[in-house]
């Protein structure tokens, strides 16, 4: 048994993604939407060209909150954001209008902001050109004429931000029926409006799909939406430690205009050109050699296996003892079962968000979340498996003079082993699925192509993550069947 454990640990260590042990490098982060990826790649290549060391890309980490937390905690060094977002969503100071005001406020958090990159990417509302034509819609004010029955799809961030939907509706006296508003992934809302499932969506003014989907952007005639100038935001420590890298980034001041940004977004979204290539073209440089699909999938597999493997080890080493405690002590048992069930009800994205302040970004919060999720099936099945043992066997064991330890090892665990193993199997398969979300906090794995594919609405890219994940789940299922042959006593196996 000890030898098996040692072998497992060694294998696990071998699978650990190299960057876990690698020397410190500059980490570039990004939000999970096309423009974020493009700007992130531009930043990464600019820093590499400055000669100040290797760059780790943690692109597509999720929403503003996650990426900003990552910056504050030092998990990433720099990413691109927008002045409006910084003032409204992060500093919670909508009164801060000037670049300097925002910069001063950020400096108090030990963060540094660059000059604007040159384009303004504000929120905007859009409808189908044909829809606008028949109803004579030009500005947001015009919407009030058609507001009853208007079906909208808005991104989560737009719905929840102070300067998002609620403020806008108030400012324009718009009254959309709540049941007609769908919250969805930003990239999917284009699909929804293309399919005619909704009439109105929010988007970014540099969105590449405006043209492709034949949308009309409604004029913000009351000037409600704040200005969203793109900037770099970095940790002060990074700007001091890597002055040339930071100088190279700030040197881009004013160099990306709106047209350029829309073009780059369009290349990614519509022509499916890789982000690295787009960035290289913009910088007038050779695109860094992109990883082959095979080595890419191999690396993702290692990351994914590492995530799932650790979660699995944790669920076994902690879950089974917790299940035993739950059986032994009734009150504590109920507490344990309720607590692990509660964890399960926290949506995975929310849990990841809570964990970032504690663990930063990358593998650690993802591992913590997976460990917590994989706990319930193992605890519950250990508990149920033991509780469903015929009590006569336990009494007989004591009547034969077996010690508590012997009863546990010779009777309880073997008899409960089919149920416990089923719990571990469930935990593993669920972990393989949930681990795809780990990409949102920069942990990599099969989720990385899924997240970037989603934001690009690029099904082939999604599949390079989704298919291996499904295969891994199938293989895990098969391995557990084999493990069952080794672990479950033959007398129980043949009965079922």
């Amino acid at each position: 048994m000890r030898r098996i454990l040692a072998a497992l640990l060694i294998t696990a260590a071998g699978l650990a993604p190299a960057h876990l042990w690698a020397a410190q490098s500059i980490v570039v982060g990004s939000k999970a939407f096309t423009e974020g990826y493009v700007l992130g790649e531009i930043a990464a290549q600019t820093i590499e060209a400055s000669g100040q060391g290797p760059v780790t890309r943690k692109l597509g980490m999720g929403s503003t909150g996650i990426v900003f937390e990552a910056l504050k905690s030092g998990a990433i060094d720099v990413y691109s954001d927008y002045t409006g977002t910084l003032a409204e969503a992060i500093l919670k100071r909508p009164d801060l209008k000037s670049i300097d005001d925002i910069r001063q406020a950020l400096l108090k958090m030990d963060l540094v902001m660059s000059e604007p990159l040159g384009f303004d990417d504000t929120y905007a509302l859009a409808v189908k050109e044909s829809f606008a034509e028949t109803r004579e819609l030009r500005s947001i004010s015009d919407l009030s004429r058609v507001e009853s029955g208007l079906r909208a799809a808005f991104s989560y961030e737009f719905m929840d931000r102070k300067d998002g939907f609620a403020g806008m509706a108030q400012s324009y006296h718009l009254h959309l029926a709540p049941q007609n508003i769908k919250r969805m992934e930003h990239s999917l809302s284009f699909q929804a409006i293309d399919d005619g499932a909704v009439d109105l969506i929010d988007l970014y003014s540099t969105d590449a799909k405006i043209e492709k989907s034949k949308l009309r952007v409604l004029k913000d005639d009351r000037g409600y939406f704040p200005v969203y100038q793109a900037v770099w935001v970095a940790r002060r420590q990074f700007t001091e430690q890597y002055p040339r890298a930071w100088a190279a980034l700030t040197g881009m001041q004013g160099s990306i205009n709106e047209r350029t940004m829309i073009d780059m977004n369009a290349q990614a979204d519509i022509e499916h050109v890789g982000f690295a290539k787009i960035a290289a073209q913009f910088l007038g440089a050779e695109a860094p050699r992109s990883q082959s699909l095979k080595s890419n999938i191999l690396q993702r597999t290692r990351e994914h296996l590492w995530l799932v493997g650790i979660a699995l080890l944790f669920s076994v080493l902690v879950g089974i003892p917790l299940g035993l405690v739950a059986v032994r002590f009734h009150a504590a048992g109920q507490g344990i079962l309720i607590a692990s069930a509660l964890i399960q009800t926290v949506p995975s994205l929310a849990l990841l968000c809570f964990l970032i302040p504690l663990f930063g970004v990358g593998m650690k919060p993802a591992l913590a979340a997976l460990c917590m999720y994989s706990l319930l099936p193992v605890v519950l099945n250990t508990f149920t498996g033991i509780r469903s043992i015929d009590p006569k066997h336990l009494e007989n064991a004591r009547a034969f003079g077996m010690t508590n330890r012997q009863v546990l090892l010779r009777v309880i665990l073997p008899l409960a082993s089919p149920t416990i193993l089923a719990g571990i199997k469930t935990a593993t398969i669920v972990s393989i699925g949930t681990a795809t979300l780990a990409a949102l906090v920069g942990a990599g794995g099969y989720g990385a192509p899924i997240v970037s594919g989603l934001s690009l609405n690029d099904v082939p890219t999604i599949l390079t993550g989704a298919i291996p994940a499904a295969l891994m789940a199938l293989i895990a299922y098969g391995l557990f069947e084999l493990l069952g042959l080794a672990v479950i006593p033959a007398g129980l196996r043949k009965q079922t």
Partner: protein, 248 residues
């Protein structure tokens, strides 16, 4: 010799055993009989040392249960649970040898003892490799008796050994049990609700009712000199089938 002396037991404030006395001489077979709720299962669990008693003694060869550790006591009483009570996840052989293995017996010693017992209960050697669910009720009983006798205890305690068997197998196993008991030469306490079984297997019978011993003696004594109307009622109640003369 097994002796139960002045045993009292209350359970949730209710007196379930009152001044129970029972002595079984070495090598004798004794049946403890009573209907359900009579207290016989509680008495059995007390004898096994699974639950404490409020007052009285359980003694083997004049040494009280309280002077032994649970493990030492278990080595002195071989227990055959209802329906054999074999552990379903291990083979018949592993069931028989489990306690010897846990006590660190050498493999050869275990093999020799199992073989000796196998011959004694007349079980086909091939059956020892099987799992309980692959054995018939009668075969499971024999394996359970081997397990109970494995550590060479002073006393064998059997709980309703025939209850789950069909009548024909019952009859043949009853005969075998009797000879097995004779060959083993153990002091045997048999707990049952079945008078037929008690009469067939045991020399002495103790009838328990509402936690008290109503009468102890041979079947003939119970039949001819009942201590209490309950004894007669109990005996008559178990003679269920009518005679040929009574059937039209």
């Amino acid at each position: 010799m097994l002796a139960l002396q002045n045993i009292h037991k209350t359970f949730e404030g209710r007196l379930v055993l009152t001044d129970v006395n029972l002595t079984i001489p070495k090598g004798a077979t004794h049946a403890l009989i009573g209907s359900s709720g009579s207290g016989k299962t509680t008495l059995l669990r007390i004898t096994l040392g699974l639950i404490p008693l409020d007052k009285g003694y359980v003694k083997i060869n004049d040494q009280a249960l309280s002077s032994f550790s649970p493990i030492e006591w278990a080595d002195r009483i071989g227990y055959v649970p209802q329906e054999g009570g074999l552990f379903p996840h291990i083979s018949a052989f592993q069931n028989v040898s489990l306690m010897a293995t846990l006590r660190g017996w050498k493999r050869a010693k275990i093999g020799a003892r199992v073989e000796e017992l196998r011959k004694l209960v007349d079980l086909d050697a091939a059956l020892l490799g099987r799992f309980p669910f692959e054995l018939s009720g009668g075969q499971q009983q024999r394996v359970a008796i081997m397990r109970a006798a494995m550590m060479d205890p002073e006393v064998l305690l059997l709980d309703e050994p025939m209850a789950a068997l069909d009548p024909l197998i019952r009859r043949s196993l009853q005969q075998e049990l009797k000879s097995i008991f004779q060959r083993l030469g153990k002091t045997v306490l048999l707990v049952t609700h079945d008078l037929g079984e008690a009469v067939y297997l045991a020399e002495q019978i103790t009838l328990l009712h509402e936690g008290k011993v109503v009468q102890s003696g041979t079947y003939g004594e119970l039949l001819r000199q009942p201590n209490d109307p309950f004894v007669t009622a109990f005996i008559n109640a178990q003679r269920t089938l009518p005679d040929a003369a009574e059937v039209a």
